[in-house]
Structures are given as C-alpha cells and as structure tokens.
Symmetry: C2
Subunit: 307 residues, 2 copies
C-alpha cells in the first residue's frame, strides 16, 4: 500500500460531568486526509483545503504528530499529507485532533501497523499540545478508538473504551463565534466545593453504568455538569435557552462540546436528535449569530479507511 485515504471524524470532549475525562466519536462529521509514501524521507504537507492552516510541520498539528511518530522508527522513505478540512477550526468538535489522529493513523497503516492504538494516541497528543498548549487525549482517544472513551489517566494513557447504546444520537450546534481557549480556561475555578466534587463523580460513575446497561433514563439523569458548565456557559450565546430547547424536545442531556462554542445534545433515536437540532436552531435564528447544526450517530469504529 502506497497511499491511503481516510475519514477523520469530529469528536466531543468534556462530555458533561466528564470534563477532561470523557470523549465521544462522531459518525458523519469530519475531515478527509490522503497520506502517501514518497522517496524523500520525512513528512511534507502538500495540500490543505477548507481552512487556512500553516504547511510547516512544526506549526501544523498533523505535521508535528506525524514527525513525532516518524522519529520513532528508522524509515527509508517519507510521507506526503493532504488535508481536506470538514471541521472548522475553533468549533469545539476536535478539529485539530482529527488532523493529528488522522496523520498518525494513516502513516501507521502505511508502515504495516507497527504501533499500538495507545501509541498513536500519544503521538497525536503532540498535535493537541501544539493546538492548545496541553497534552490532552479526550479528543484523539475517541477518534482513534471509537465510541465513548474514558481517560482514567492521561499521563499513563490508561484509557477505557466504554460501550455505546445503539440508539444514541448526537446533535451538534455550532454558533460561529470566536472563543479563545485562554478565555475558556480563565473562567474555570481552580477550587471546587467538596459537595460538588461528590455530585460530579457520582454523575460520571452513573453515566458509565448507564452506558453499560443501556439505561437511557439513567444516562439522562447523569448528564449533569455542576462544575465546569456553570462557569463556561456564560461564554456561549443563549446557552440557557439552547439547553432548555434541547430538553424541551426530549434530549437526554446537553452541554458544551470541548471548550465550546459548539454545544452537543445526546438523544435516544435520530428523530429526537433532529427535533432537538431544529429547536436549538430556532433559538439562534433571531440572534445575530451565524450557526450550523449536525446530527450524527456515535461512531464506534473511529477513523475510517475510505480507500
């Protein structure tokens, strides 16, 4: 195999009570990438469509992730990368992670899969570090492993693939505003009241139980974030109204995707997910905010090989 074409899905990190822990992989929202072997050693990004991103390896998340992988092996050839962005950067649904994960996934395939999935996550986290300043795995892990992923420890990469109830659908509403990562970070309170810590833990543990038992009602009761959302919601236009709209139309729960500005809502069944999307759209329609919405199944496979 000398060339591979990939679908690199979007993902939702910081899922409600699972801030910095829980991520979800999406099915039909994502980028495409082509990676091909070349005679020139190293990595070269040759094409970027759909976004205005740097071609220099050190400044591009795909480039830096790919370089980190390539340095681990003595490879007598090199790789060209073409990136076709479908995920807007800064949208909060893992745009940088899709590129980072896609690059290392594709090169690994072209090399005959010498690296484990956990090693690929480690390489892709270098791209995340370039994008956000921190080595976090809660977008790249679901993209590479698929489904719901639980990061027990991001230092040791102790990551658990949770089961996905088959009727779960996700609605994404992306208000096209610029939200600086530094702002999303600066609003976070660094100390949490003990009672809220307990509540949040209990919700996350119950959510995990609900995923194992296909208990949609329990999933719904558990999708409550008492720590991060109260601080960050002020940065999202019409947050309370969007959340109310999702609830009104029967979603199981909703929250901020990643560090925003996108919001996600989980629903049982595609029909509810569509109604939720329409109702959330109605909230943004009269405002002076451009937006887009997506509906997706949960992608239990992760990155897909197109050809």
């Amino acid at each position: 195999m000398n060339e591979i074409k990939l679908f690199c899905p979007a993902s939702v990190a910081n899922v409600s009570c699972g801030f910095d822990i829980l991520g979800i992989c999406l099915e039909n929202v994502g980028d495409e990438m082509i990676i091909r072997k070349t005679n020139n050693p190293g990595v070269k990004i040759t094409k970027i469509k759909g976004d205005n991103l740097p071609f220099e390896n050190k400044k591009n998340v795909a480039g830096i992730s790919a370089m980190t992988l390539v340095k681990e092996k003595n490879i007598p050839f090199g790789f060209e990368i073409e990136i076709y962005k479908g995920i807007a950067s800064g949208s909060g649904i893992g745009s940088s992670a899709a590129s980072s994960a896609g690059a290392v996934f594709g090169i690994n395939k072209l090399l005959g899969s010498p690296f484990t999935k956990n090693e690929l996550i480690k390489f892709a986290m270098e791209g995340e570090k370039l994008a956000s300043g921190t080595l976090h795995a809660d977008n790249v892990a679901p993209i590479i492993l698929g489904g719901f992923t639980l990061i027990r420890c991001s230092k040791t990469l102790d990551i658990i693939n949770l089961p996905t109830p088959k009727d779960l659908f996700i609605t994404i509403v992306h208000p096209k505003i610029e939200l600086k990562t530094s702002d999303s970070r600066s609003v976070l309170k660094q100390k949490v009241p003990l009672q809220k810590t307990i509540q949040q833990s209990a919700n996350l543990a119950s959510l995990v139980s609900g995923l194992y038992t296909n208990d949609y009602k329990l999933i719904s009761r558990s999708l409550v974030d008492v720590i991060i959302e109260p601080s960050r919601s002020a940065l999202i236009p019409a947050f309370d109204e969007l959340k109310y709209a999702a609830k009104k139309k029967g979603s199981l729960g909703s929250g901020i995707s990643g560090s925003g500005p996108s919001m996600f809502a989980l629903s049982k069944g595609e029909k509810i997910a569509k109604n939720v999307s329409a109702e959330m759209g109605k909230v943004l329609e009269p405002l002076d905010v451009e937006y887009e919405t997506f509906i997706s199944k949960i992608n239990t496979e992760g990155i897909k090989i197109i050809s």
Copy 2:
C-alpha cells in the same frame, strides 16, 4: 408470619474514590435481629446483647427507623425488636446502619412487603441521621440492596446496584481506637483542587467500568482516593504501613472503611485476602493497639432471613 430472624450484614462506605457514593455489603460479618408482631401497637426494643445501647426508640437507630416506617401505615398491631450486635459500634463498618436497615427490613417482611427497597432505605436513613447527624445512604443501601451500590443522589435516592465480580474478597482490619465522627469530619478540606476532582472522578468511573467488565487490574488501578484519604489517614494508627502491607501481599487496593478507624482491602480470591489480613495484623501487633480482622466475600443479597 409473626416473627422473623435476620442476619444484618456489616458494610463498607466511602469506598476509596467513592466517598459518600460507593458502598459494599459484607457476607459473614454482621448482627442478628429478631422482630416479632405484638398486640401492642408501636415499636418496642426488648433485648440488646453485645453492646451497651439505649432501649428508648428515639435514642436507638433501630427504634427511630422502625417508628418512621410504622407511622406511614395504619397498623393495628406492634413490633418487638431484639438486637444481637456482632458489629462493634464506632468501628466504621456500618454498625448503626445494620440495626437501622434490619429493623425496617424485618417489619416490612412481617407486613407482607408493602414498601419498596428504596422506601426502606429512606426509613433506615433516619437511623443514620440519629447516629451521625446526616441523612446518608452509603451504608444502608448496600445492606438492603446487596453488593456494590452507587448513590447518584441521596436526596432523590437514585441508587444503582453495580455488578460484583465473583472472586472479590474483602479484608477488614479494625484497630480498636475511638475515632470521633466530628474529628473525621473536621479534617476534611471543603475545597478541592480542580485537578484532583478530575482524577477522583476518573478513578470512580473507571472502577465502575472494572466492576462491569470483571477487570481486576482496572479495579486495582482505580482504587485510589486523592481527596479524602490524604486528610483522614493521619487519624488511623500506622495507616501508611497498613496500606503498604496490603499492597505487598497483592491486594487490589485498600482504604479507610466509612470514616474509620477500620480499614478495608479488596483482593482477588480468598487466599490473597487472608494473606493481606495477616500482613496488616503484623503491622498492628507490635503497637499498643488492640485490633480484630475479618475476611468476607461480597454479599450480593444483602440482609438475610435466618428463620
């Protein structure tokens, strides 16, 4: 049925990363109770063996829990309660909860089970309130439901019965020192750094995953309490040495049972649980501290009817 004899098991609350959330029911450590119908309406405690406890309903956890239940129904007869304590009060393995839960469980049976298990938990929590000042369910829930219980919300009594991997054994080491609840409480820090909140949540969620998948290694990695234990461990004699002893002999993890002074260790298989018990005993042997140890399977049934 006019009389019922019960085995009311001990329990471990505050299981490691599950402070105020996770409880476990023990198999072969507990009290016995006899409850019988009498012609005199109301509740009367007629015998208490094994401990020096008040007979007056309002001052006895079994009495107050039983009264709370009885007041809910118009019952033309009454109940006598005999309590044979096997669990030392103040040991940290749910002595008050066993009596509270036993009383309401037995009376409910004699009434033909008009109340649900969740209602029984609610009544038994009145005993817990008398004993500790707060309405907490993390001992009475595992006693009534059996196995591992997860309290998502103690206000709405949203309680989840988690699966119990069949080779799990528990070691209890009870150093016979007096530990005041007020001291156990006063050492707790009321604000938790955000990073520790995340770590604790991730561990609890992973522990739940390990219980569903019988993943003993994951259970072991997840049995880490970064919030409560660092504050409370100073109240337990030779805590670090006891924890080291448990680890050295292959336990999956250990921690403070309830608010102490007992410690628990979870192990895969009875043999390891016994070795852990012996090694922890060796730590306390040279100290001027009386102690007792128990080994138990996890009791997935809860309170048992003896006759």
